[in-house]
């Protein structure tokens, strides 16, 4: 009954979405307020029904209703409650339901908090949202219905893929989806602007918070996914240039560019057409990501199932929205009024520079991800494009971007003085170069890239701090005055500095992990010692243990440094009976911002085990840096500037951060 109710709710949501897609759009065209007013309530009701469907599926999972095929395929009654719940999106159908749930949530937020949007813009935005919702609801109902029943229900489910039985599944996909789907809002705004043929600085002010929110979640989602892969897969890697990872990186790059170009549009009324294009591209890349992951054209840990009809269906959605929006862009963009002018050396110029490099970097990722598919379709040759390709293309394009990053915020609008800015950054540059030289001297014949990366990372961090120091004049005036100035700075300024600082921090982590890691692989017996960089790990022996739905073999290691015992590490091998599958549980020892990483390989019958031991200095900075970036985004989002404009209950806005 619950599953049928969920199914029915989805059908009702589809009906509402169709109404919401057509009536407000026609109303906006005919200037009919009654028709436009349909959008808001329809969006809220649509969200209600989708939420009902989601709740129905979640209930089926939590209650282990094995008459629902989807639950049987992906759940097991012995799984802990949290995994029974997260399994809802640990499979194709459920994750599409989560996707549409978040889409409907965003639509409802626009409906609820967009009261001071111009009526036609709001109607058009919600109508475009409903077009997307219609497409995906049709997809769920026709090609991947999660509510299908089985005629004879089994007593037990087939369990969730053990790799997914982790807290990471609770965090990573929902956050990433909020980011992906959040891009749909700026897309809808862009399409609405094209339909109306009108775009102004106020438009940018409405779009920016939504883009920022999506960007924050994309950043967090990618970062959490990376940490999850790092500790769960047992390979010690945090980024594999896997097509699915790239699929999330591309919208991120494009959304980052969009954030920056929207600033230009808001402040200077320039780069209008370009901003619209970026908004379209960001969501198109999100859709492409969905297509790559869900169609089964790729094999990866994220591909739950491959079914050709689904692939064709999603491809059709992709072609419709990307092709349609780009065609609309080509047709309507010339109608938009051209924006203002600016000198090449100026804040605007710096933001254009940022956009050029970000989009080019995004293009290289795009080529690297899709080239194998294109080549196979054309010639039948199968190739893999991996880290070497991206290191040789993406890497070099990021260097000029990072070098220029500290300059941007210090340049004045309209006409900047590069020399003066360089002078202000001389302190940061001097320290960075000194660190670079010191690192070269210290490491001797180590990897060349490491000191350069270190210097670059420090330059970015110190550049962000210089920006703050310049604005507060902290080095020139009394501390009290500087503090007052610091408190008076717009939060967006703090946000920018913090986000930029986060990039530098993450870069330091990346340099430390990729260049200064040490690895040791050994086969050892109880009593043996493995040593790496002064750490001695003694293998004490292994003991079997039973978990709720698995059995594990835990190996105990005592970690010593010199005579001092630091910790006990317990990496394990887990065997999940329901799927007869084994996973590796790595053991991590955090030392400062570095980690000792220990994972088990094969366990042999004579009691010996293969172990993989890494020392990864600075590795945690990768994720700390991305968290700092997201915090910067959140700080920026809380800026008064993005909220002023219309009187509204402050409490609601603080909680939701809507667009105005």
């Amino acid at each position: 009954m619950i599953a049928e109710a969920g199914h029915y709710a989805l059908v009702l949501a589809l009906g509402l979405a169709v109404v919401q897609a057509l009536v407000p759009m026609l109303g906006a065209r005919w200037r009919d307020p009654a028709m436009m007013a349909v959008a808001g309530p329809a969006a809220l009701a649509q969200f209600g029904f989708v939420a009902l469907a989601f709740a129905a599926l979640a209930t089926s999972y939590v209650m282990s209703d094995f008459s629902v095929a989807n639950v049987v395929e992906n759940s097991h009654s012995a799984m802990p409650l949290i995994y029974r719940f997260t399994s809802v999106w640990g499979n194709h159908e459920g994750s599409m339901l989560l996707w549409i749930f978040i889409l409907a949530l965003f639509g409802a937020l626009v409906a609820a908090f967009g009261r001071n949007l111009p009526a036609t813009l709001k109607a058009n935005v919600l109508a475009v949202q409903a077009w997307i919702a219609t497409a995906f609801l049709l997809f769920i109902l026709l090609a991947s219905n999660p509510f299908l029943r089985l005629a004879d229900a089994p007593f037990e489910g087939r369990d969730l893929n053990p790799i997914l039985q982790d807290l990471g599944l609770a965090i990573h996909p929902p956050i990433l989806y909020v980011g992906y789907v959040g891009c749909s809002i700026s897309f809808s705004f862009a399409i609405a602007a094209l339909l109306e043929g009108r775009i102004d600085a106020a438009w940018a002010r409405w779009v920016r918070p939504w883009t920022l929110a999506a960007w924050i979640f994309l950043t967090l989602g990618i970062s959490m996914g990376s940490y999850w892969a790092y500790y769960e897969l047992g390979w010690g890697g945090w980024w594999f240039w896997d097509p699915v990872e790239n699929a999330s990186l591309m919208p991120w790059l494009s959304a980052t560019a969009l954030l920056h170009s929207a600033v230009v549009m808001e402040k200077r009324d320039a780069l209008k057409v370009w901003t619209i294009l970026l908004a379209i591209l960001s969501f198109s890349l999100s859709l492409l990501g969905t297509f790559l992951v869900r169609s089964g054209v790729l094999t990866s840990v994220h591909t739950f199932a491959s079914d050709p009809t689904r692939g064709v269906f999603i491809l059709a959605i992709l072609v419709f929205f990307v092709g349609g929006s780009l065609a609309l862009f080509a047709w309507r963009a010339p109608v938009l009024k051209q924006g203002g002018l600016f000198a090449p050396i100026s804040r605007e110029g710096a933001l254009v520079y940022n956009n050029l490099f970000l989009t080019s970097a995004c293009a290289t990722v795009f080529v690297g991800t899709l080239y194998p598919l294109a080549l196979e379709a054309l010639t039948g040759d199968k190739i893999s494009v991996g880290a070497p390709f991206f290191n040789a293309t993406f890497g070099p394009l990021l260097v000029p971007l990072l070098l220029a990053m500290p300059f941007g915020p210090l340049l004045a609008w309209k006409r900047g003085d590069l020399l003066a800015v360089a002078q202000r950054l001389s302190g940061a540059a001097a320290i960075a170069v000194a660190a670079l030289v010191a690192a070269f001297a210290y490491q001797g014949a180590g990897p060349v890239l490491a000191p350069i990366g270190l210097g670059l990372g420090l330059f970015v961090i110190l550049g962000a701090l210089t920006d703050l120091a310049e604005r507060t004049q902290v080095l020139r005036v009394r501390f009290k005055v500087a503090l007052a100035r610091a408190l008076g700075l717009p939060r967006a300024t703090w946000g920018t500095a913090l986000a930029h600082l986060g990039v530098g921090v993450a870069l330091l982590g990346i340099v430390g992990e990729t260049q200064w890691s040490a690895e040791r692989i050994a086969s050892i017996k109880p009593g043996d010692v493995v040593s790496l960089r002064g750490y001695d790990l003694t293998f004490e022996g292994s003991v079997p243990r039973a978990g709720p739905n698995y059995r594990e073999l835990v190996a105990r290691f005592t970690v010593r440094r010199g005579a001092e015992t630091i910790a006990v590490l317990e990496p394990a091998k887990r065997t999940f009976a329901a799927r007869n599958m084994t996973t590796t549980e790595a053991a991590l020892l955090t030392r400062g911002v570095g980690q000792i990483y220990l994972s088990l390989g094969d366990v042999n019958s004579d009691g010996s085990v293969a172990v993989r031991l890494y020392d990864k200095p600075l590795v945690l900075l990768i994720w700390i840096g991305t968290l700092v970036m997201a915090a910067g985004g959140a700080l920026s989002l809380s800026d008064r500037r993005l909220r002023v404009g219309a009187p509204k209950p402050a409490r609601d806005r603080a909680a939701m951060q809507p667009a105005e």
């Binding site: 840990v301 000198a343 090449p344 050029l356 194998p372 893999s384």
Partner: protein
């Protein structure tokens, strides 16, 4: 600077960066891509020793030998030909005899594939797509069996 000059500058900068990106992509595509081959491909195409490739197929049952210091040897087969693979290190969790595998590395002059990376599938449900395609080409992939399997309702656990 006139409007026109500014436009040209912007356009020039844009094309410049895009050109740089294109040049990087083209040079990287020449050097850093790795072709996928089945054991039959290796024999038929006479892949030169030392070229970095990916070899995919099934781990031949009974072929896994463990040496000292984590050295392993196994055969990768597509039902038609088999290639010996030598690897030192830890095999992935889902590496099993009779299951799909992809090894990355190069052939040595003796015809043994020296792998520096071994990938198995992520999930017991499916085969790496390249491997499935290679097996289909050799006629060892039972499409019908696969379909039947997918359509069958889940096995009941008493």
């Amino acid at each position: 600077m006139t409007r026109r000059q500014r436009r040209l500058l912007l356009l020039g900068a844009g094309l410049g960066v895009l050109g740089l990106a294109a040049a990087l992509v083209l040079s990287a595509l020449k050097d850093s891509i790795v072709f996928f081959n089945s054991p039959s491909d290796i024999v038929e195409k006479r892949v030169t020793p030392g070229t970095r490739i990916r070899l995919g197929g099934l781990v031949a049952p009974g072929s896994l030998e463990r040496g000292s210091e984590l050295a392993v040897r196994f055969q990768v087969t597509d039902g038609n030909r088999a290639i010996s693979v030598a690897y030192r290190g830890i095999l992935p969790d889902l590496f099993r005899e009779g299951q799909g595998v992809i090894a990355e590395g190069a052939l040595d002059t003796a015809g043994v594939f020296k792998a520096d990376n071994v990938l198995a599938k992520h999930d017991e449900k499916y085969m790496p797509r390249e491997v499935a395609d290679a097996l289909k080409k050799q006629g060892y992939w039972k499409d019908d069996a696969q379909k039947r399997d997918a359509a069958r309702p889940p096995r009941q656990v008493p």
